[in-house]
Assembly symmetry: C2
Homo-oligomer: 334 residues x 2
């Protein structure tokens, strides 16, 4: 190469570099979102808080976004997937527990009597959780969850549960992180039930997962330290618990919060009450065909008070049926 | 500029860029550490886990380092600084509490009777913490801590407490982060007592602080949500509590852990028990002149069992007097 060609080589490399970054910026970051009000709200919010010259600029360290999980990042019907996990665990452990044949709520589970299970109420559910989530070490439990996800299938979609995540929300998570947001899960679900798989599926590392938990205890077993999971509630990360969990775990107030039910209302209120520009968004399940349709009268993921408050305060409500081109990632491969 | 000079201009810019990054890499990342065994251990550990071609490589996501605070990142003598904060708060609040004149442990504090305060034991300390740390909102408490740090002075050094941080540890924190480690505090101290200042001082954001806490409660006050601090222990992040707190908050096992007392032993054991290369380090307070000297018989920061285990297992023990060129950042300006 002579001087001349070497110069043009360097110049071309530079131009290519500029072109690639410009092209990336021009690509639609939310391709599964129709050009509705939700998408426009998200784009303008992110543009505002990342514009260094603008009045709404927020430093990257303060760009905290919190996401509910059940019904916001993945499906929560026919019932919370963690409950289906607990039911499968009862069946797997039943041979070691002959007493379950005659003890509720276990009998209900073993006989597939969902009405009797519902009758057992909160107390019954708590017994179910303790019997299936405690008594092992943190490493063992993580392994049990991983194995369950690899084999269990959703009754309607006949797919692994961790494929029933929302494609538009995956795009939103990635878009926020591209804009230097730190994305957190803040879920009523079990923190140790989520951690084994959310990093691979959502790109959210374990240290950015806030959830409900049972107590654990440090113990030495054959000279090796383990954390044993105890049958005792440590924290319920739902409703009023969500701002408590956010403060406890993150220690900063989010500037954006995403939910889908009344269980997320206080998280959105807590987010909205901070200074400066904020984004509060609710996913409204309106698509009975592609997913499920439910809101004010649902037992799972009831959206009633939060919907009223969203309308009153101008929070974003996503109409899944109208605004989402695709629901699940596997639809893109069709 | 002709083609020729433009080519040389680009080439020079490129060479300058390479030169600057090489120069940065050649600079000693730990200038306040003498070339002793501790420094060599740190450097070789970081080199090993960041060497992509090596057997000990650890992906950046797994590079979790946890640091105790009291006695590891800042001084903890004559007593934990948070206790001095509580004592100052009792004095500041005394006029609203006439009953404290005749109620222990408050009388002891108001009369500067440290022997009587010590006699009040754990129960007395707990009363002191609850009376001075609870009853306000999280925002109010943060403000109180910030104001105290701005005005209070250490009895020996006559400086603000947040200047009594260890320069060699600041360098270590920065060095680890440069090598894509995520640095966390895991302290027996109060999480809300640390968060208002640790980001500015250590570069550790609030979401990477694990500590002891009292319970909080979400409440609406005049239509505005607040978190009220309740006089009830939520979690004690000390000894066996440290691995529990690490699991709860981080959800990954650290590959490096730094402490200075028996309160850190379980954190180091938990760290050591993971697979692959690990770094466990204890700061040994051996410098009575520049800081304090204490270990096996100390009431504050007792280092006894952990010292034995460190020797037995080959963990790094830093002799402050011998291995640290400077203790505090303000010494560098002399």
């Amino acid at each position: 190469m002579n001087i001349n060609s070497r110069y043009y080589f360097l110049l071309s490399a530079l131009l290519l570099c500029i072109f690639v970054s410009t092209a990336q910026a021009d690509t639609d970051p939310l391709p599964s979102w129709n050009d509705g009000p939700a998408k426009q709200n998200i784009l303008s919010f992110v543009a505002a808080v990342t514009d260094k010259a603008g009045a709404d600029f927020v430093s990257p360290a303060e760009r905290i976004a919190t996401f509910d999980n059940d019904g916001t990042l993945w499906t929560e019907r026919p019932v919370y997937f963690q409950l289906l996990f607990a039911i499968d665990r009862v069946k797997a452990l039943a041979s070691d527990h002959p007493e379950w044949k005659t003890t509720q709520p276990f009998t209900a589970v073993l006989e597939n009597d969902m009405a009797a299970l519902a009758d057992s109420g909160e107390k019954g559910l708590l017994q179910l959780v303790m019997a299936t989530h405690a008594g092992n070490t943190t490493e063992e439990f993580s392994q049990i969850v991983t194995e369950w996800l690899a084999t269990a299938r959703h009754p309607k979609f006949k797919r692994p549960y961790n494929e029933l995540v929302f494609q538009p929300m995956l795009e939103l998570l990635a878009y926020l992180r591209t804009n230097d947001f730190k994305t957190f899960i803040v879920s009523g679900g079990g923190i140790e039930f989520m951690r084994p798989w959310v990093e691979a599926v959502y790109g959210i590392p374990p240290e950015q997962v806030v959830g409900s938990s049972i107590k654990t205890k440090f113990e030495m077993r054959d000279g090796k330290p383990v954390l044993v999971r105890l049958p005792e509630i440590n924290f319920i990360d739902d409703k009023e618990g969500k701002p408590v969990g956010i403060n406890q775990h993150i220690g900063r107030r989010p500037i954006a919060a995403f939910g889908n039910s009344d269980g997320d209302l206080q998280m959105l209120q807590w987010t909205a009450a901070g200074e400066g520009k904020r984004l509060m968004l609710l996913v409204h399940h309106t698509d009975e065909l592609r997913e499920y349709a439910y809101d004010r009268k649902s037992h799972i993921g009831k959206l009633d008070k939060a919907l009223d408050e969203a309308v009153e305060k101008g929070w974003v409500v996503v109409d899944m049926k109208k605004e989402w081109k695709a629901i699940y990632p596997f639809e893109l491969n069709k």
